[in-house]
Assembly symmetry: D3
Homo-oligomer: 209 residues x 6
C-alpha cells in the first residue's frame, strides 16, 4: 500500500476562516470599497461567475454614432473583481465612431477582429498618435488619455478592448460636456467653444441650461 | 435632423450594478477594510462630500506647543477615501513647535503660506536634513521618517501639509513614549533616557507608571 | 563608563551596497522607468533636493486665460520622485480660467489660499459636481476626471493643488484637440463639433490642418 | 483679436526635464528593473511603439500539441511597458491543447473568437472550474492558478488572452518538470510520479537526467 | 508650571470617525474584499490579535509525505490582515517532502532552523534553481513559480517560510491534478501523463473520475 | 513516435528581448529606482543569488545594547529585489535590548526561535501593545510604528524578523536624535527632553552640537 491518506497535511491546510483567497467574485449586495466589491462566499461561487457571454452578442449600432460599446467590467462580470483586468466589445457600423473619451482608471489595448479602425490618442504634450488598424492589430491607449476609434472602411468593424482594471471607467467627452445641466456660459468659459455650438450639442444630447 | 437620440449607446453603458467607480466616498457606518472605508451609495453622494471647509479655520494655539494641527484625512473628509491623498493645516504661534513625529502611512509635502518655519527630518542613516522655509517654499518628508516643524520667526506661521495617503497616520514621539501607561523602567531600557526625565514628561503629558 | 561604542550594531547596519532606501531623489541624467526616475547617489543628496521654492513666485497671468500653472512635479522637484505626491501653484487673475483638463495619473486636492474659485468636475455618469470655494476650502478631483477652475470673484485668486503622484500629468482639453495637427474633419467626426468652430480654435491655439 | 498666444501658460508647462510621463515605451537597451524596462526617450517614440501586428498572424500548429501561443508582452510590444496590461494569441488546431500552465505574474481573461474551447482552472482548494466556451465567450483565470485550454470541436479554434501585467510570465507544467536536467529521482519524490513516466516525458520533451 | 495640558492639539487629533488606520485586524464575521478582511472595531483590538502561538507546535508528520505545513496567514492570524506579510511552519521528518507547489499570491523566503533541506524552484524558462540549505540559510522563491522542499538529511528538519502577502495561497500540484473529479482523460490530455499513472495517483489522493 | 519536437511552440515563446520576468536579481552596479535595483542580466543569475547564508552566523552582542541585528535586505541579498519581502536576524544576549525604532517602509513579523523576548509597539493613538513572546511565538509590528524588543529572560534570545519589503529601512530613535549634529537646543525644543539628558546621550552615541 503506497499512498495512505495525507490526513495531517490536509487538516492543517483546510483550517479556520478558509475563504479561498485565489479570487474575490463580486457580491453585489454587500458594501463595496476602494479595492472593489466584497467577495461572494466561497461556497456560492460557481464556474459561471468566471464566464461571461454578453460580449458574444453584437451591440445595436442603429444610433447616431453607428456604434455600440458592451462592457464586461466588474459591475457586469463578477469574476474579474479584484483581478486587475476587464474586457469590452466594440461594434462600429460603416461610418461608426466612438467619439473622444478617456478611461480614468485603466490603460486599454484594442484588438481588431474584423474591418478597419482608425484609432488615435493624444498625449499630455498634445502630440497625436494615429494609426489605421487592420484585423489582428492591437494598439495600446495609456491610462487617462483622450482617444477615439472610427470605422476606417465600408464594412462593419468589430474590436475588443482589454483594460488594466476591473473598473476602468468611461468618460465620453461630449456626454461629459453636453449631456447634463452645466450652464452654457460656464462651458463656454472653460472650453472656449461658442455658445451656439454648445447649445446645439446640448440639444442633440439631451443637456439643459 | 442631425442628432437623434443615442439610445443604444446609452442603454449599454448605464447597465447593471452601476456603482460609479470614479470615486468611493467614505460611508462611515459600513465596515472598513485595508484599502479604506466602504463606499457611500452613488445616489447619496453630493458635491459636499468632495469639499471640506475645516482647514479654513485657524487651530487654537494657546497650548503648550503653541501649535495646532487640523486634519482633512479620510476620517474627516469622506471624498478622499481611496484616492491616495489628503491634507492638513498647521498653525504655529510664535515659539510654536510640532515636535518630532512620523506618518507611518504616507510621505508629506509641507507648503508654507505665512511666516517662517524651520523644518527637518532625519534619514535612516541618521543624517539630518534641515531647512528654514519661507512663504511659498515646499519641503518633502519621505514616508515614515522622524521630522518636526518649528516657527522660525516672531510672527504666526501657517502651513498646509499634503499626504500621499487618505489615512497617513500621525505618531508623535513624545505622546507615544510618555502619554500612556508604559512602565518607566521599560522606557528607560528601550530609549536610554533617565528615569527622572521620563517621569517628568509622563507627568507633563498625562502618562502613568 | 555607561555607554561604550555600539560597534557591532553599527557595523552590521552600515554594510554593503547601502543605498539609503528612505527616498529616491531623481537623477535626471540616468534612465527613467515606469516607477519614476533613477535615484541620485546618496552621497550627492542634499537638503536642497527636498526643498523647492518655485511655487513662491506668482505665475504670469497676462495671457489669454488670465491664469498660470506652476508645477512642482518630479520633473522639476527631484525630492518627490517615487514618493506618491507632488504640488503645483495656480494663479487666477480676475476673469482667469483653467479650462477643462484631466490628470491621467493622479487625484488632486485643491486648496484655496486667496480669492474665490468656482471649481467643478464631471463624473463618468456625466453628473457635474460644482462648488464655489472660498479661502481655506479644499476640494478633491478624483483621478482622470474632467475638471476646471474659474476665478469666481473680482480679485486675484491663488490656490495650490496637491496630487497623489509625483508625475500626475496634465491634459488640457483644448490643447489636446486644437493645438496640434489633427485633421479638422477627424476632430469633427470624433467630437461632433462644427468644422468652423474647430478651425477657429485651431487658429487661436496654433493648431494646423 | 480674441485669442493671443497662451505664452506664459505654455512656457510653465513645457519646462525642465519634461519626460512625458503618460507612458514609458520600453527601451530594450537600457537596464530594466522590478517595475519593467527603462523608458525610451520621448523624442524617439512613434505611433508604431503603441501598435503591434504580430497577433494578426496565425501561429504554426503543426507540432505535438497542435497549438501555438504568440505573445505581445512588454518584451515584444514596447508600448505596454509599465501599463499593467498585455495580450497574446492562441491557435488551437483540431485536437489542439495548451497543457496545464500558470502565469505567475497576472490574471488572464480569454476571449474566444472562433471555434469551441474547453477551458478550466483549479483553485487552491483543489476545486476545478471547467467550461466549454463558444465564440464570444470570455473566461477569467485568477492569477497564478493552474489552467488549460483544449480545442473542444472538430475545427480550428482561435482565442486571445489578455493579461493584467505587461510581463505575466508563463510556466508550462510539463516543461517545468521534464524539459530540463532535474534528476528523475527528485522529480519522482516531489511529484509522486513513477520514474518510468518521468523518463518517458523527459525523452519526449528533451529533458535529461 | 512647565507643561499644561495639550488640549487643543489633543482635541483636534482625536476627532471624528477615528478608526485607527495603523492596522486592520481581521473581523472574520464582516464581508471581505479584494484587499482582505474587514477591520475589527479599534475598541475590540487587543495585543493578542497581533501575536500568534500556533507556529510553536510541531506539525504531525506521521503521514504519507512525512511532512506538515502549519500556516499563520490572515485567515488564522488576524493581525497580519492588510499588512503584506505572513508566516508558516514546515516540519519535515526524515524522508519528508513538500511536493511541488506554488503560492499564487506571494513570494516566499524560507528560513532553515534545524536539519538540512534540499529546496528548488523552476523559472519560466524551465531552468531549475536547486540548493541544499543548512541551518540559518535562507532561500527566496519568486511569486507563483513551482517549488519544493525535501528533507536532505537523516534527522527532522524545521523551517519557517515567510510570505509577501497575508494570503499567499497554496496550490499543491498533485492535489490540484489528482485530488478532485477532473476526468482522467482530460488530465492525460493536458499533462501528457499516462492514464494509468493518473488513476494510480487519484486512488492514492482520493480523486475520482 | 508519440512526441515530436514542440518547435513552433518553443520558438514563439523564447522570442525577442527575453528577460526572465519571474524575478529581478539586484545588479548593484546599475542605477536603482523607486521600485528597487536594476535587474542582473538573466544569463548571469545563479542559484546563489537566491540563497543567503549570512543569517546563520550569530551577531556579536558584546556591545552596549547586548544585541545585534543582521540584515538580509535587498542591499545584502540580491534575490529579494522587487519581491516584496526580506529577513533579518536578531541576537539578544541576557539584558539585550533593541531600542525603540521604526521601519519606514515595511511591516514586520518577529519569530522567536530561542529564549524569551518582551516586545511591544505603540499605535498612533498612543496605546501600547506589549507581550512576552516565547519560542515559536510570532508578533506583527504594523508598518512605521515605534516598537522595541528586550530579552525577557536570563539566557540568550534569538529571533528572525520578516519584512513586507525588500528594503524596509530601519530608523533607531536614539541614533536619529543623538548620533548626529542636530543642535541640542533644537532637539530639546522638538522632544521636550532636558538639554542635560540630550548632551549625555549625544556623548554616549557620538553625536555633536
Amino acid at each position: 500500500m503506497i499512498f495512505p491518506i495525507f490526513f495531517t497535511f490536509f487538516l492543517l491546510l483546510s483550517s479556520s476562516h478558509a475563504s479561498v483567497q485565489d479570487f474575490c467574485v463580486a457580491d453585489y449586495k454587500a458594501p463595496d470599497g476602494p479595492a472593489g466589491y466584497s467577495c461572494k462566499k466561497p461556497a456560492k461561487v460557481t464556474v459561471d461567475d468566471f464566464v461571461y457571454s454578453g460580449l458574444g452578442i453584437a451591440g445595436n449600432t442603429t444610433n447616431i454614432i453607428k456604434a455600440a460599446v458592451t462592457t464586461a467590467f466588474a459591475a457586469q462580470f463578477p469574476g474579474v473583481n479584484g483581478l486587475g483586468i476587464s474586457l469590452a466589445r466594440l461594434d462600429l457600423a460603416p461610418g461608426g465612431v466612438i467619439p473622444f473619451h478617456t478611461h480614468p482608471g485603466a490603460s486599454e489595448v484594442l484588438l481588431v477582429i474584423q474591418g478597419t479602425i482608425i484609432a488615435g490618442f493624444v498625449a499630455s504634450d498634445n502630440t497625436p498618435y494615429l494609426k489605421t488598424l487592420k484585423k489582428g492589430d492591437i494598439m495600446v491607449f495609456p491610462q487617462g488619455l483622450l482617444h477615439f476609434q472610427v470605422n476606417g472602411g465600408g464594412t462593419p468593424a468589430l474590436a475588443f478592448p482589454s483594460f488594466s482594471s476591473p473598473s476602468p471607467g468611461l468618460q465620453i467627452l461630449d456626454f461629459a460636456l453636453f449631456k447634463n445641466d452645466l450652464a452654457t456660459e460656464l462651458i463656454a468659459q472653460t472650453t472656449f467653444l461658442d455658445a451656439a455650438q454648445i447649445k446645439k450639442l446640448k440639444g442633440a444630447l439631451g443637456g439643459t441650461n
